[in-house]
Subunit: 282 residues, 5 copies
């Protein structure tokens, strides 16, 4: 319990950053504290109920911000979980069916496994050279690589249909999964490109800012030296909720709280390969 | 962080407007402040807990208003995200299949790409002459252009079915996507035509109004000159939440926080064209 | 903004009614005010924190009530939006297919357009003579007219199937939409027949009642003449939220905040007729 | 309005029971009140802010409890609404199709109508002799009667398929509805067998208990004789919310707020019979 | 009611553990109490409103934590409820169809019944020797046993299709259920592997910690000896909500509040066997 409370401040970059910011706000609060203990202490006449209305609005905004950010993050996780399912099901179905030649089946395997990798790079808008090359080898140059992969998979399936190796019902059974690949891609793009309403984000930030700037002045008369601790703790949680919401809202990046896309890609790779290994006749 | 708090007041029309309104409320609060500092200051005897019950109702209404407005906005975004998916899938499927002649396929491409443009104009109830002409060239005069486009797409697919170029299973695979086009159109029309229950909107507005009109009178005894700042800040956030909710609730307009329909149409255009470019034999 | 706050009190029957009730409560509050200013003013010794716990429970109940009522209303709207889609899609599909003779197609058109009208009358449990006659002409006497219409549509489609004019795939494409008609009807009946848990509604009403009856006695010592205004404003919002929730919870009636079923029926009529006009060969 | 507030205390068993409990708590509060008015009144030194933190936790728990209980209840209602739809659609489809002999069709009718009755008895784990006999006559002895009925319906449909009276597409159209029967049964079983997390229910009960036991001691100094009324009213609402949540959470029983399964079964019976009566040739 | 409040402290391991922790916090609170009653009692000058802002953040975090944890738990329950449905439907469909030989049908039965057991072991990452042996006998060695079982079921169905014993429509009807098996497996893996955003969990823990550490110092001046009881009760509920959320968030373990996977597996076993017993000809 104890280590669970203190250690993250050292091990988590996000929390260390927030902690640092909170200390800065704490330094700032030394100014009213110093004034309070100096002979000018009557100069501070901010009324102490100053924060009543503000904390009310702030609560509304922080709850809204946390909930919407988290539900975006969880939706993104559900989409990637659906990708695991779709790839696995495609694997199982393609190996159960014998509508594909060994050659096309192994090509399909490559395409399925490449899809999540391509989607990950697409969402992060960065790609290392090795991955790019292997993807280009697979589907040629394309601007929207996940789409190109899905199109190639469709091509394989409809070709098999046309040559009569699979019938209409098998086509539809496979189509149901192929469809999900692109729907998941579209869903991720939606989360990536549209953040929550900008004005709400600005309001939340402004409200936190005004709250923290005015807090020490309002409470220093009553709390004196304790103002320092209260300001730091308050700043830590307020800035923390704001910062984490900012990270969680864009779940495809490299922040600690972002989705671990690498490990999801690896999971898909393993699970799809295992599917094929079971069934392809030696 | 700092620029994120101050700059939007200059760059965002919505926030500048809200800021202006808040300053007006601030001017109004000068009246009780002037009275308080004058010799008539005993004339103000509003009890300071005046706002207890009101802020309680106000909180309820603002939370309700923000959440419903945002969930409408996000649903509209999901619908347009679904439109991207449906158009892209249609593109991939029509190019994978060879049930269409090159001519009809290229006509289908035009129709798919025209659908989001027509829907955008339909939702905004305005259309520039150039767009109108090109749409009329495509589907003739029609009152409900998106519907006319979808009907034409259906015509193409069922014609291909009747002439035996695609079979029943392919029909159903294509039907699944065509269906989504009109379901998305219907969903957007629902959001456009039905705003949240009118009485709730009136309550929210009245509650904000009464709150702000009475606020300075209730706190001026305790807060004196600080009343000015508190009134301005409170008005800024209250009017801001109300105004932004009003904008966000009708997400198809031209406000800053509205959906960027132009860029969504452009995305669909690009992505569908890329689909076709990959596959149509030269 | 200003007219948006005051005018609804004159133009909206609901709000005028609520305003009237609030004035009555205001009259009632004159009793403690008169006592307070009389020489018996020591007789009032209600403690002023009387409402602490009550307002806490009241908040919980009003939030719960508003949210559930609104989500029922919005679900009803979604169902009717789905009805627009289902009818329009049926129209497009029936005209794209040529599995129907001109005669049956025009009968199908009549049935589709009659369905929302019949559903509206069914949900309101009232029907004018003209509508009744035209519906009886169409489907004969039936207790559950929407069901009779859907059954006739099914009959048409399965007859076409049996006579070989449409094949199994077309049957299923049409079945998907026909199914929705009755599912929507069932969904509306669910909302109509099952209101929210009765005990919660009684609690909400009792809590508002006790709150308003005790409010002026508890605050009259502190607020004196202002008690009148506070009581009226509080009563206005409390009774308003309760009354509007009551209206919104049963969205198929004639209240101002109810769904505009007439205009939805008209929309469906127009849109379905347009579908047919485009395609039926002259 | 007035009768809506007072009468339920007499007519509703649940509310009368809660009212009785609240009076008991009121009796208990006479102890601190008697002490307060006795010469030992200095013995009570409970601080009056005692309930600050507790009411905070209590609010959280009651909101959580009310929302989860209600959403279970509403989900159960949706499931039974879906059952109405599924039975009705099955009826319409079976009569539109002529894949069944008159004999099997009338047997199917009996099975469809028996399903909700069997499910109701299954969920309540009680069955009167008459119902049991008629169900046993229909499907023989079975431990899970709804499942046996669904299996028999499947048998009928697949037999018709095997004998070539309906084709694959009609099989699938019927399968879509049959599937829903068992899915609804499974959904109801889920709600029946899994209540909300037990620890949360214990917390809620403990919190209400501690709150009510300590309330009169904490407020008797300030409120004196009014303590009695406040305690009774508070106990009424707290125990009421807790008791109603308990009832609503298990929506298949005989409590007033439970679903009216009898009338739902009757609705299904009527609606399905009407479907058949329209269509079966005399 | 009474036993429902006290007994769980003795019978529930979770609540006994939380109760023990709360007593520890109570012991800790003896320190400020002792100081308060000693002659050093002026040394404690913590301001009593210390917890205003903190309790505000704490409320936000506890509500968020409880809701997300519970909705994960309930989603997991829905997934396992869906598993009951999918297995039962598979059973009914496989016995209604006669596309399978008696031998393969009995093998399919074994596979269906083995699936939930394998999934349970997979989710808990532990497996007793007996279960492992029987599973290995069924599907051979495999890393991902549920996937291997699903793949074998697919193999059976597609083999039957290829040999012409079932046609395309029956394939699709069976595919719909088989698909659900792996989708449910994927959904459970998602819940298992991805806990809620780590930073939020750390914040919640830190906030509870700081709250409880500072609470007795802040209130001891006002509450004196009552500080002990208030601290214990507060600690009990705060730590309780935190601990239970931690348990509920990972619903596949052995905690009291976790899902009862054993009984769910047994239910599936019984229900599927009953399905087969009804129908397999003697």
């Amino acid at each position: 319990m104890f280590t669970g409370m203190i250690r993250p401040l050292a091990t988590s970059k996000t929390l260390a950053y927030v902690g640092g910011l909170a200390l800065l706000v704490g330094c700032y609060s030394l100014l009213p504290i110093w004034l309070e203990y100096s002979r000018y202490h009557d100069a501070i006449n901010t009324p102490s109920q100053f924060h009543g209305v503000l904390s009310f609005v702030l609560g509304l905004l922080l709850v809204f911000r946390t909930n919407t950010a988290y539900s975006r993050w969880w939706e993104a996780r559900i989409l990637w979980g659906g990708l695991v399912n779709a790839c696995r099901n495609l694997g199982i179905k393609l190996t159960s069916s014998d509508g594909l030649t060994d050659e096309t089946r192994s090509r399909a395997l490559q395409l399925i496994v490449a899809f999540p990798v391509a989607l990950r790079c697409h969402l992060r808008e960065e790609i290392d050279d090795e991955t790019r090359e292997s993807l280009e080898l697979l589907v040629g140059r394309a601007k929207h690589i996940p789409q190109a992969i899905a199109a190639q998979l469709y091509q394989i399936v409809w070709d098999a249909k046309r040559s009569g190796r699979i019938d209409g019902d098998e086509l539809r059974v496979l189509d149901a999964e192929l469809l999900r690949l692109m729907d998941i891609c579209g869903g991720c793009e939606r989360i990536l490109k549209t953040r929550i309403v900008k004005s709400y984000r600005v309001f939340a930030r402004q409200c936190v800012g005004i709250f923290l700037v005015s807090l020490p002045w309002a409470i220093v008369h009553d709390f004196r030296i304790w103002t320092l601790f209260i300001t730091i703790i308050t700043a830590y949680f307020m800035l923390g909720l704001e910062t984490v919401a900012e990270h969680v809202e864009t779940p495809f990046g490299y922040d600690e709280d972002d989705l671990d896309l690498e490990s999801l890609c690896a999971t898909i790779d393993t699970t799809v390969h295992e599917t094929f290994s079971h069934h392809v006749p030696a």
